[in-house]
């Protein structure tokens, strides 16, 4: 037995006869029986009368926003695996923090949640909570009659909590129950029923004997839930984390060759989602970087994943790049109608020095630029590879990038076996170019 952790200079301030008063003393008993010192425990308290708990103990304490206690508790426990984390929350916090409650049950971080369930919001005036019976007379008028109360334990079990128990504040076994919950390795939920004389029992009859009766009529909750037993999240996390490979620092690219033109190049690829437009754009930029050029890549696409236009705008420049939007385009790659439709205005302003690479079958507006039409299909190249193939064509023309730059970029970007197939695609496209 360790010494009491109650702060005698700050005695509980609950109403006469409040269940929380008994829970405070019983929790202290459990702490001492476990032989714990204050610094080994953090009490994370929610809002409402149960939110005062942290102030009565000489333990670490974190008191935050309504319904969010489990979120702080999770962060604390992940950061300090040896700390005993006890969360005190009312039936109000259980309701507003429902998403966190469900997630905590599923996640199974080693926290002890005490739901001090007194069937109403005490502090704010006895309004109905997620557990108020419909027949109760409470501070929310008729509204509680319309809703069905939540069975915390059923929900916890269904959501995967490995330890669930329901008990009365007045049970002789309460401190043992707290001990069991605290020593259980995993998320434990204790639904502690009690009375709130300040609000609830002013208009409703509820006595310790009636709580016992009501509990006796419910399915017993023995604590550990057989089908939910599994590894504690933090322990599992650390084990998985140890197996992860460290992320290498970002690849660096040195200037190795000279660019075909030492001029700024504004390049736009107009395609559709699924054509790996963004990867092709990245390769183009990396190719530019092998020649010591600065590069930017700005992308535009819809939120849908495999549908809709996909546009990538690249700038390669021997000097620093300001505005990232492409302007006087030197190269346009048009490989899907929806991409062209999104940026059709680009064609109007093309100069005769510009180059357009168009996939056969894709319609483009009239323009002054030189247009190369490529039958990618005829070359046996599938649409997801057209953007990459177009880079092959571009390099053959020695426009913006040389074949050498492109091949170097592919080596930076890909590893086998993808590298070989990318090189093959570029090779067959170059023969066409």
């Amino acid at each position: 037995m360790a010494a009491s952790l109650l702060d005698t200079t700050r005695p509980p301030v609950f109403c006469q006869g409040c269940a929380h008063d008994k829970v405070t003393r019983t929790l202290d008993e459990a702490f001492s029986r476990l032989g714990l010192e204050g610094h080994q425990i953090v009490i994370v308290s929610d809002i409402g009368c149960s939110g005062l708990f942290d102030t009565f103990f000489h333990t670490h304490a974190m008191h935050g926003l309504h319904g969010r206690a489990l979120t702080y508790a999770t962060g604390l426990k992940m950061a300090c695996p040896d700390l005993h984390v006890v969360v005190t929350m009312g039936d109000g916090g259980q309701g507003i923090g429902g998403a966190h409650f469900l997630a905590a049950c599923r996640r199974n971080v080693d926290l002890t949640l005490l739901v001090l369930n007194n069937f109403n919001f005490g502090m704010t005036g006895g309004q109905f909570s997620a557990t108020t019976p419909p027949e109760a007379s409470i501070g929310s008028g008729f509204l509680n009659r319309l809703e069905r109360p939540l069975d915390i334990c059923q929900v916890a079990s269904a959501a995967g909590a490995p330890y669930v128990s329901r008990c009365s504040t007045y049970s002789k076994d309460l401190s043992r129950e707290f001990e069991r919950a605290m020593t259980f390795r995993g998320f434990s939920v204790v639904d502690v029923w009690g009375v709130c004389p300040g609000r609830y029992t002013r208009n409703n009859r509820l006595t310790p004997a009636m709580i016992d009766d009501a509990l006796a009529r419910l399915e017993p909750t023995p604590g550990p839930v057989a089908e939910n037993q599994r590894r504690e999240y933090g322990e599992y996390y650390r084990e998985e984390a140890r197996r992860q490979d460290a992320l290498p620092r970002p690849t660096t690219i040195d200037k190795e060759v000279a660019p075909p033109q030492n001029l700024r190049q504004d390049i736009i690829v107009m395609g559709s989602a699924g054509q790996r437009i963004i990867t092709a754009g990245e390769i183009l930029c990396m190719a530019g970087m092998t020649a010591g050029l600065q590069a930017t890549q700005k992308n535009e696409y819809n939120i849908t994943v495999l549908r809709g236009p996909s546009i990538s705008e690249m700038i390669l420049s021997p000097t620093a790049i300001g505005y990232t939007g492409t302007q006087r385009h030197s190269v346009v790659i048009a490989i899907a109608d929806e991409g062209v439709a999104r940026r059709s205005s680009v064609f109007e302003s093309l100069e005769d020095t510009a180059l357009v690479i168009r996939a056969e079958g894709v319609a483009i507006p009239e323009c002054r630029a030189e247009v190369i039409s490529v039958n990618f299909k005829g070359l046996g190249i599938r649409p997801p590879d057209w953007a990459l193939a177009a880079l092959g064509v571009l390099s053959t023309r020695n426009r913006a990038i040389s074949p050498d730059m492109l091949i170097k970029a592919l080596h930076y970007r890909f590893q086998e076996p993808v590298l070989s197939s990318a090189l093959k695609i570029v090779q067959s496209a170059r023969s066409a170019g």
Partner: protein, 370 residues
């Protein structure tokens, strides 16, 4: 010169990692998700923790718990998530909990456009907390800034014990750029000051004439209290107006009074300039191009790019605008930070260039206004 090709979001993640961040929690949201993706690959193998919360409220809540345990923490989201963070941001302010919050802004209002950029949260970041105490907001304008300012954000949040925002934008976060990370100037990573006298530690007491309390972690040998309630230096609720105002005045002063120490900016001044362009974020890039064009055309124009947006670096702005008649404020919204400039420079003619349609303000937009 070895360059890497990365997007702003990756640079934020690397900046955080190099600043010593070892805890990240987030919820997937375009255009911020790649920060989470990168942190998930960075932290676990390095002994750190990266979590996906059940929602944004949980994600930032995890971070606040972990920060109180002494870890450097970060979360990242976009407009809808920042809205959900609000109550936890207030907690971080009131509890003086260090945290870096990245907002990769997207076009709003509301769900808005997930894949279109904007700088529409600039006032919201400042005022979107109950109580209205000051916060620090830094605004990157390119990938290099994302790395550097994220590192700086950690140092500021540790030094001042307050939330620090990195106000990025889809157009920076998801735009890739060549960058030489190794040569980005970065300050040494700082840590919150540990209490030198744990026996007499009070969680919200300050030593001497300091404005920031010393720190001890929850979970350490000395018990520590943290509370979202109005508290005294001991971390217990207080109702004494004198004590309340002392502590809230201090929290206001520690950030608002210190902005002179971190008024990050770039200035490109021209002698006898008649016009000053003030901008921040992605728009700074268009402004630099416009500036070159205007000067080539014979205009005399100066440019101020703000990297610290909040607290408003008033002295810097006033000083830069001295002897200049006309100020042009360019920002990717319908007029937010321009309010601060109008407030600071009542004698100046102030013109506004804004845009809120998911496309960038172009150099022409700025040139035409000039």
């Amino acid at each position: 010169m070895a360059m890497s090709f990365m997007e702003g979001n990756e640079a934020v993640a690397w900046g955080a990692f190099d600043a010593g961040c070892r805890f990240f929690a987030g919820y997937p949201i375009t255009p911020a998700t790649t920060i989470y993706n990168t942190m998930l690959r960075l932290l676990p193998p390095a002994g750190g923790i990266c979590l996906q919360g059940e929602d944004e409220i949980a994600s930032i809540g995890f971070c606040l718990g972990a920060s109180m345990a002494g870890l450097k923490v970060m979360t990242a989201t976009s407009g809808p998530g920042i809205s959900l963070y609000s109550e936890q941001i207030s907690f971080a302010i009131g509890g003086e909990i260090p945290i870096v919050i990245v907002d990769v802004q997207r076009l709003g209002p509301s769900t808005g456009s997930a894949t279109r950029g904007a700088d529409g949260d600039i006032q919201f970041l400042r005022w979107g907390n109950s109580g209205g105490l000051p916060v620090i907001v830094l605004a990157p304008s390119d990938v290099r800034d994302c790395y550097m300012l994220t590192r700086e954000a950690f140092n500021l949040s540790e030094t001042y014990r307050c939330p620090v925002f990195v106000a990025s934008n889809k157009e920076i976060g998801m735009t890739r750029e060549s960058i030489d990370v190794e040569t980005v100037p970065s300050s040494r990573p700082l840590k919150r000051t540990a209490s030198p006298d744990p026996d007499r530690f009070q969680p919200f007491a300050v030593r001497d004439d300091r404005t920031v309390p010393d720190f001890l972690p929850i979970g350490g040998p000395r018990v520590v209290r943290q509370t979202s309630s109005t508290h005294g230096t001991d971390g217990y609720i207080t109702t004494d107006p004198g004590e309340i105002s002392r502590i809230l005045d201090r929290m206001t002063r520690k950030v608002a009074g210190a902005v002179g120490n971190f008024s990050l900016h770039e200035v490109d001044a021209q002698d006898d300039a008649g016009i000053l362009i003030i901008t921040y974020g992605i728009t700074a890039r268009a402004a630099r191009v416009a500036l070159d064009d205007l000067r080539t055309a014979g205009e005399r124009v100066s440019l101020l790019v703000l990297k610290t947006l909040w607290p408003v670096p008033g002295r810097l702005i006033r000083k830069t605008a001295e002897n200049i008649e006309r100020v042009i404020v360019a920002e990717m919204n319908n007029g937010q930070y321009v309010r601060e400039i109008e407030r600071l420079l009542p004698q100046h003619t102030i013109d506004f260039v804004g845009r809120m349609d998911g496309t960038l303000i172009s150099p022409e937009d700025i040139r035409e206004t000039v």
